[in-house]
Every structure is written in C-alpha cells, then in structure tokens.
Symmetry: C2
Subunit: 364 residues, 2 copies
C-alpha cells in the first residue's frame, strides 16, 4: 500500500518559512513513528502568479484533487494589490476551496494557558477558552451568481448574491453537530434571520437536522451582530458556533483575536469522503502572509504546525499523534520559548522561526 | 414660526420606560432653555402589531416623514418570534429607515471614563476610546432584490442580494468624510473587496470622493474580517469607520461591546436635507428591547437620553445644548450613580430608570 499523500502549497510571504518547519515535522513522523507520507510541493497565490500568470494552475488544481491532504501556507501581499480581481492571490485559495468542495471550515479558537496574558481581554474571560467555529466555505455570497459590476441607469452597480440551498446548509450543519458530539454537545447557529431570508432557511434547516438526527445536541440560534457582541462580552459561553461563509469569516477572526495569539491558530477545511474514506481536506494557519515580516525568520510556525496536527486527526485518523504534537507545542510554550509575536511587555529574547520548529521537534 | 417637531415611537420592551425619561428632558428644554418642541407619540414594532396587525401603519409612516426628528425606543420581543417575516417588529424599523431614506447611521463607540472597568478589554486599551462608525443603512443585502426562499431542482434556496450603486456609496462616504473633518481627519473604509465585487466598487467610489472632495482626509481601507480583529486588538487606532449595512451591523455591535456599557450608546440615522434644511432623522439607543428586564424599572435610560443629545446636535443645530446634556450624563456617572447594568462586582445599590432620569435632570 502506498503512503498517504500530502501536497504542500506554501504560497506567499511567511508561508514558505513556516511551512519549512512543518516539513521537518512530517519527516520526523516518517522516521520516528512509522508514519511516512508522500510529499509533493507546488505553487499557489502570488508565487503561482509570478511563475505562471495565474494564482493556481489547472495542473496544481488536479494534484490537489488527488492527494489525501493539502497543506497551505498563506497567500497575498502588497505586490499583488494591483492585479485584476480574477488573478489576485486569493482567487487561488478560493478555487481550491470551491473545486475541492471543502464545505466545512473548522476554526478552533483556543486560548493557551501560557499565553492568556496576551489577549486584549481580561484574563479570566479568556483563560481556558475553547470554541470551535464551523464556517460554511463553498457557498454564500463568496460564490453566488449573479455577481459583478454592471452599468444601470447611467451609473455602476456592484452586485453579489448570498445564496444557500437546503442541502448546502444540511451538510455543514451535520459537520457541526458531529463535532459537538465529541465536545460539549452545544451548537450555536448564527445568521441574520431577522433581516435575510437566507438566514430564515438556514435556521429552519439546522433546526430540522438537529430534531431528526441529533436530538441530544443543545441547539441555540443567535443573530450575527449579537454573536460579535457575545464573543467580546463572554466568549466562554460558546462550544461550537455554526455559521455561513461571510459571517464565519468575520466572527472567526474576531474569536481568533480574543485568544491574543493569532500565530497559534490552525484551521481545517473538509469536504466529502473520497474513495479511500478520507475527506477531501486542506489545512492552513489562520494568520495571513504577513508581508511585513516575511523573510526575516521572525514568523511563528506554530499555527502551521498545529494545522498539521489537525491533518493527523481529521485526515489520517491519528488522533493520538495529533495530541502528541499539540502537547509538544504546549510544553515548548510552558518552557517560555517565544517567537517575536509572543513577546510580552516584560521583554526577553525571541527565538527565530527555525529555533521554534527545532524546540517543538525536540519536545516530540 | 412653529416649534420643531418630534415623533416619539417608544416601541417594545424597555423602549417606553427609557423614553419616559427622554420626554422629561424634552420638557425641561422647553421650560428652561426656551427650546420648545411639538411632540407627538405613536406605535412601532410589536406594540403597533398588537394594535393594528402591522409593525408600522401607513399613518405613522406618513407622520414620520413630516416631523423634524423621530425618537425611537426599541422593537421586538419573544412574543413576536412566531410572526411571519413580513410583520415582525423589525420590519417597522426597517421600513422607517428605508422610506425616510436614512442612509447614514452614526454609531459612536465611546468609553466613558467612569465606566472603563466595565469593558471585557483591559482598561488601557479602551480608556478614552472614541470611534465613530458610519454605517450605510438603506441598501445592501438588507434591501437588495431579488430575495426570498425559492424552489429549485427539488429543494429550497434562500437568496438575498448585496447591491450598491455608485451614488449610494458616494453619499454615505461624504457623511463619513464630513464627520472626520470635525474629528481626527481619518476614515477607515471597510469591505471585502478581496472576495466581493460590491466591495471593489465601494473602495473605488470612496477613494474617488476622497481624492476629489476631501484631499485633507487620511483614508485607509480594511477588510471586514481584519476590522473585527483590529477592533478587539487595538480599538483606539480608529477615528471614523465607514462601512456598508451588513458589515456595519456586526462591527458596530462589536465596537459597542468594547466600551462595556451598551446601555450608554446612542445612534443617529440621517437622510437628505428637507425643505427646512434639517436632515431627515431618526435617533435611537443601540441597545435592544431587553424583554427580560422590561417593566421592572431597571433599564438604563442613558443611551436613549444621549440619542436625544444627538438630535439636538444633528437635527436642531444645538450643539452646545447637546454638550450640556452629555456633560450632565458624565457628571451623574462621575458621582457614582448607577443603574443595574452599570453595577460592578463591588456591588452597591442600583438606581431605577426614573431615578437615573431625575439625577440627569438635576445635573442639567
Ligand atoms: C484571504 C481571504 C479570501 C479569506 C476569506 O475571506 O475567506 C481569508 O480571510 C480567510 O478567512 O481564510
Ligand atoms: C433589529 C435589527 C433589524 C437591526 C439591524 O439588523 O439593523 C439592529 O440589529 C440594528 O443594528 O439596528
């Protein structure tokens, strides 16, 4: 039997630097734990545009469809701001999400004990925070047709379409309920049903799935504006938050920032099971390409490393190994090892990207 | 010459209670400062539904069009959750906004010194906070056509349309730039131009207006997800935030919660100038109808009172009197007078809604 396959798309900015540390960890798992992976690498985002004039080639897209998991770094940078919408780095990422049909984006917002002081929020409000946001990722206003800029009555009109079918809502709802079963059995579904019909349908379908298939899960509904407030007011009230593509984009970033350490947060984007039973999957850190610090060895590789831990758990059925990797990260943090983004006002000497990677390897 | 006219729509929940205190203040301005207003009252939201079967009658709508300013309390409550979308309390509010064409929603997020401890954020991050959010209020996905729930390929589809014309963007941009001129000359315009064409047009039009008409204003652009993060991370970086209807809904509530005292925050919704030069205008507290505490004399009337201060400033050209009222509120807070929502962990005895109103009157 062949090894499970991983396609690495390191992308732009700090993407390649943080991914280098992940590669070492992948190698370690092959050498030390008998978990060998077939790894290939390719380009995405601005890097792909520079080489090929598009942010993702058809060949790379085809490879992504074939592997067991894609590891993505980050895309974008000021250099590409001038590009046309259709070839901007983000389009590469959105194409991967859409064509792989990665409908469930899992974004844990966890506050690491060693870092609770980093939050802008008072420590007792965030210490121990552990929210899982499940964001729909392949539909809604990100992809709805019609869209574009049109001429009408002598002026231009910018148009996008928010659009959800029952089946699109149902499948991501199931992902959220399944996750809740392994956590605290509570799901908060978020929309704007008071002003949007798409939100009314969302609420109806989510409720119906709970009633029919997950009666043991406690389901509540919240408007998106209130959810933003509640995240700031009392974030620990949440277990799993289920929401659409656009609300999920905003609320998951808000929740991420509550933890105070964006450089720590991984994500998984999952689709339907493939022939081998594994879900289509892409893993990426929540942080962006951070062009301002790229190439300086300052970036924190932890978010990308924890994204690989999610890959171990969700793609490769290696929950114990995922936990091992997460524990190694916690140990290194508890030992006081810090990249520049994790330095508090008390100061100290930050370690570099590669030093952080080496410490985590050593802790494994 | 007749007195300026005010239509009071107290609405549901705590709306009538907090509005009672505003009425006393309006009377005080007539008696003591020679600023007499012609005040009429009517129903909106659930209260209007109970009486007339609709959340806003045509007669009330017509009155709102004729007065110099509408003072609104709050709408909604669990009793009305079962109602059809078309007659929900919120529809009354949305009809007022739309038919009065109140395109610029001004939502100050200010942190009162006496209350900085109430924020979930660390005190130094919010003390002195003073952001003005300008939210477009009459277009976007709240009102775009087509909308609804349709049958398609044997399943239902929920659909809404995000839609902005150049002129809709231009007029609210001007409102934001005008406000910035009287503040710190900085505007952050927020959209998702990386994924939505409506955001691309938004960015273009806002930039063009700045270049042509407000070259002295410092304009920056930010994606909505990043804005949510930055609000949590370092809220004092902002002066004026300009954004669309849906992003504004979420971000202004997030910003409001940063201040820690939602019961303190007013809002103004302004339209085009009427024949008498005054803008079409509606003023309302940011908080909702709070059905859980309605009728108990616990509600904080300050947000509604400060909304009247905004009316003095923006509708009646009485900036000095607005400041007088705001100072009275600050004085009462500095004296330690607190409604239940402003009680800290150290405890104490809260004052009632009417006591708070009386203290502010006394301070005037
Ligand atoms: C880069 C961008 C297109 C993307 C999004 O808006 O989805 C990002 O913000 C994210 O959340 O992954
Ligand atoms: C009550 C509701 C319709 C409204 C909105 O979504 O605009 C409210 O949240 C607000 O922000 O004024």
């Amino acid at each position: 039997m062949s090894n499970p396959s991983i396609l690495i798309l390191a992308g732009d900015g700090i993407g390649p630097e943080v991914m280098d540390e992940v590669k070492k960890i992948i190698t370690w798992y092959g050498d030390k734990r008998g978990l060998a992976f077939d790894v290939t690498e390719d380009l995405v985002g601005g890097a792909a545009y520079d080489a090929h004039g598009v942010p993702l080639t058809d060949e790379t897209m085809a490879k992504a469809q074939e592997v067991d998991a894609v590891m993505l770094g980050a895309v974008g940078g000021p250099k590409y701001d001038v590009l046309d919408f259709s070839v901007k780095p983000e389009r590469g990422l959105l194409r991967l999400r859409k064509e792989m049909d990665l409908f469930a984006n899992l974004r844990p917002a966890q506050c690491f004990d060693a870092l609770a002081d980093f939050s802008s929020l008072k420590k007792d409000l965030v210490a121990g925070l552990d929210i899982m946001i499940v964001r729909e990722l392949t539909s809604g206003v990100y992809f709805g047709q019609p869209r574009g800029i049109f001429e009408e009555n002598g002026e231009r009109v910018g148009l996008n379409t928010q659009r959800y079918t029952e089946s699109e809502i149902a499948r991501v709802a199931r992902s959220a309920f399944e996750l809740a079963k392994r956590r605290d059995n509570r799901v908060t579904s978020v929309e704007k049903a008071n002003v949007m019909e798409s939100g009314i349908l969302w609420r109806e379908v989510v409720t119906a799935i709970r009633d029919a298939e997950y009666p043991e899960i406690e389901l509540s509904h919240m408007y998106a504006d209130n959810c933003a407030m509640q995240l700031v007011r009392r974030p620990k009230q949440f277990d799993v938050i289920l929401t659409d593509n656009l609300f999920g984009d905003i609320l998951s970033d808000c929740a991420a920032m509550l933890t105070g350490s964006l450089g720590m947060l991984p994500s998984a984007s999952l689709g339907a099971p493939m022939a081998n039973g594994r879900p289509k999957a892409m893993y990426e850190p929540v942080h962006g390409s951070a062009p301002d610090i790229a190439g300086q060895g300052k970036a924190n590789p932890i978010a990308c490393i924890l994204s690989f831990a999610m890959a171990l758990r969700y793609s490769f059925d290696q929950g114990d190994e995922a936990t091992r990797l997460e524990k190694a990260v916690e140990k290194v943090l508890a030992d006081g090892v810090r990249t520049a983004d994790l330095m508090g006002p008390e100061g100290g000497t930050p370690v570099s990207t590669t030093e952080m990677g080496a410490k985590i390897l050593a802790a494994l």
